[in-house]
């Protein structure tokens, strides 16, 4: 397998606070990689550094063969992002929003219209395609966010808390979408979440972050083994052990 993302001593400091502390790991092509941790553990900061939105204080990362410090534009060329609390232009419809992003990504006009329509259907917003986004619920906007992150057909998809605000049915649909993108398109997916059930169901590998550093890294069985979890012990308990709570 080939690494598509490689973090090398990636560090971010804000004064005395170390948000991300010398993080090292690699994400393989086609993998579904979960990034777990409490609020403020450094998950979102790590993601924003991978996209060049925040410069690292130390270290670097290689995304798609490009160094995020030297060539951030190339690094994010094949990356789709669903940020936490993604927002859209309320005065536009779902298709108008997607078309704008497709134009930004240089998707040819002939391809763009058809692709946007398919993505809207895929995320289950087909019956709301003509409604302005201002009238969408939080969950609908989150679905549209998934469609937006796919509009440029990226090789890597980064989802920051993708199920936030989505109802259980929507969460299940989203899980299926993520699984499908990984299996059918060979897409590499990184996602952050607080929902451990999702991690258990979806992830090939998981990194658990604590105070900016990596507290645990591996497959779910590997993580369980590292903390000597008893057979049948809930993954939540395992996660809390990594956090030093139990």
């Amino acid at each position: 397998m080939t690494s598509v993302i490689e973090l090398k001593n990636l560090t971010k400091k804000y004064g005395d606070l170390t948000a991300v502390d010398h993080v090292n790991y690699a994400v393989e092509e086609g993998e579904i990689f979960g990034l777990l941790g409490h609020n403020g553990a450094g998950k979102t900061t790590t993601i924003l550094m991978l996209l060049g939105l925040i410069p690292p204080t130390e270290g670097t990362a290689i995304v798609n063969g490009a160094d995020i410090k030297e060539n951030p534009l190339q690094a994010r060329r094949n990356v789709g992002l669903l940020p936490e609390n993604a927002g859209f232009y309320d005065n536009l419809t779902a298709k108008q929003n997607l078309s704008f992003y497709a134009e930004l990504a240089d998707v040819p006009e002939k391809v763009s219209s058809d692709r946007c329509e398919k993505l809207i259907d895929m995320v289950g917003l087909g019956d709301k395609r003509t409604v302005k986004v201002g009238a969408y619920s939080r969950g609908m906007k989150q679905r549209l966010g998934i469609a937006q992150s796919l509009v440029r057909e990226p090789k890597i998809l980064i989802l920051d808390e993708p199920t936030q605000g989505i109802d259980p049915e929507g969460t299940r649909d989203l899980r299926e979408i993520i699984r499908g993108l990984s299996k059918e398109r060979g897409m590499t997916i990184i996602f952050t979440t607080h929902v451990l059930y999702e991690v258990n169901k979806l992830c090939d590998r998981v990194a658990i972050m604590k105070n900016g550093a990596i507290a645990g890294l591996g497959t779910i069985p590997e993580l369980r083994k590292q903390v000597n979890a008893a057979e049948g012990e809930d993954f939540e308990q395992v996660f809390l052990r990594y956090q030093g709570v139990v």
């Binding site: 939105l53 925040i54 060329r77 789709g80 940020p83 609390n85 993604a86 232009y89 990504a105 440029r152």
Partner: protein, 326 residues
Amino acid sequence: MAGLFTMAKKEFLDIIAEKKFLLIFGTLLIVILVSTFQGGLEYSSSQSSTTTTTTAPGGQGPGGNETRPFQMMGSVSSLSTALSSMVTNFSLVGGVLAIAISFDTINNEMQRGSLKTLLSYPIYRDSIVYGKYLGGFLAITLVSIVTFMAGIGVFLSVTGLALTMDTLLRLLIFFGISLVYMAIFLAIGLLLSIVLPQPSTSLLASMIVWLSSIQLIPNLGYAIGQILYPVRMSFSEGRPSFSMQSGFTTIRAIISGLSPSTAYENIVNSILTTSELQFTSSQPTIVSVSVDKALLTVAPSIIYFVGLLIAIFAVAYILFTRQEIR
């Protein structure tokens, strides 16, 4: 530059579809139409009075300027006098319109949660800041073209004035300077939308800057001038008389000229001044002022004006491209 025109197009279409834009644009248009109509009427009446009282023939003065004996104050600087309220209104409402367009350019994207998404695309930040500014600039250009064509159209139809090359050139310069003036406030709004995270705060700050430009800085110039060079009062034949020291005028002009609104009005009034009084002989004469001469007179102000625009935009650009998006 990838994404620049996509951003500019979206920004422009968003701006012109906004109610606040249409409201202020409508207000500006009405104010300009009313003021040019009034200015046109006043111009016509002053011209007819002048015609009846002018008796002596004109001649050729120094530098090829046409001179004629002074008869009526109304005939001096006729174009600038007639369009003075248009200039004042444009400096007031035009500034507000530019601020209304730009005060939330960047922080609104942050608040909405769309800035991270935008920046995750393979486009430079330059494209976003240039694109958004270009979109706003196109909107103010549209406003200026419509307002000027309507205002000048009303003025010409009321006065029946023939549009000579000289007048056209003066009006075109007036248009260009007005565009730069609005572009300055557009850049101020952009800068504050980058520095201040809340749109409500950046709106308030923009309005304070605008108020300072139209009121505070000119008043400050007057006050500092008074402190440094107090107006002298003396009594002759029991009556008080006031004399200004030359330093007062200079200090006031320098400080007031720092205000974009004052600088704008000074530049435009000079450009529109077609004739002025000259006291070279025992009798004051009216001397025509060519466009070249007017431009030369206000060249420092024009350089300051354009420099201010570039400086404000450069600061906004640097801050945005170096900003951490969290």
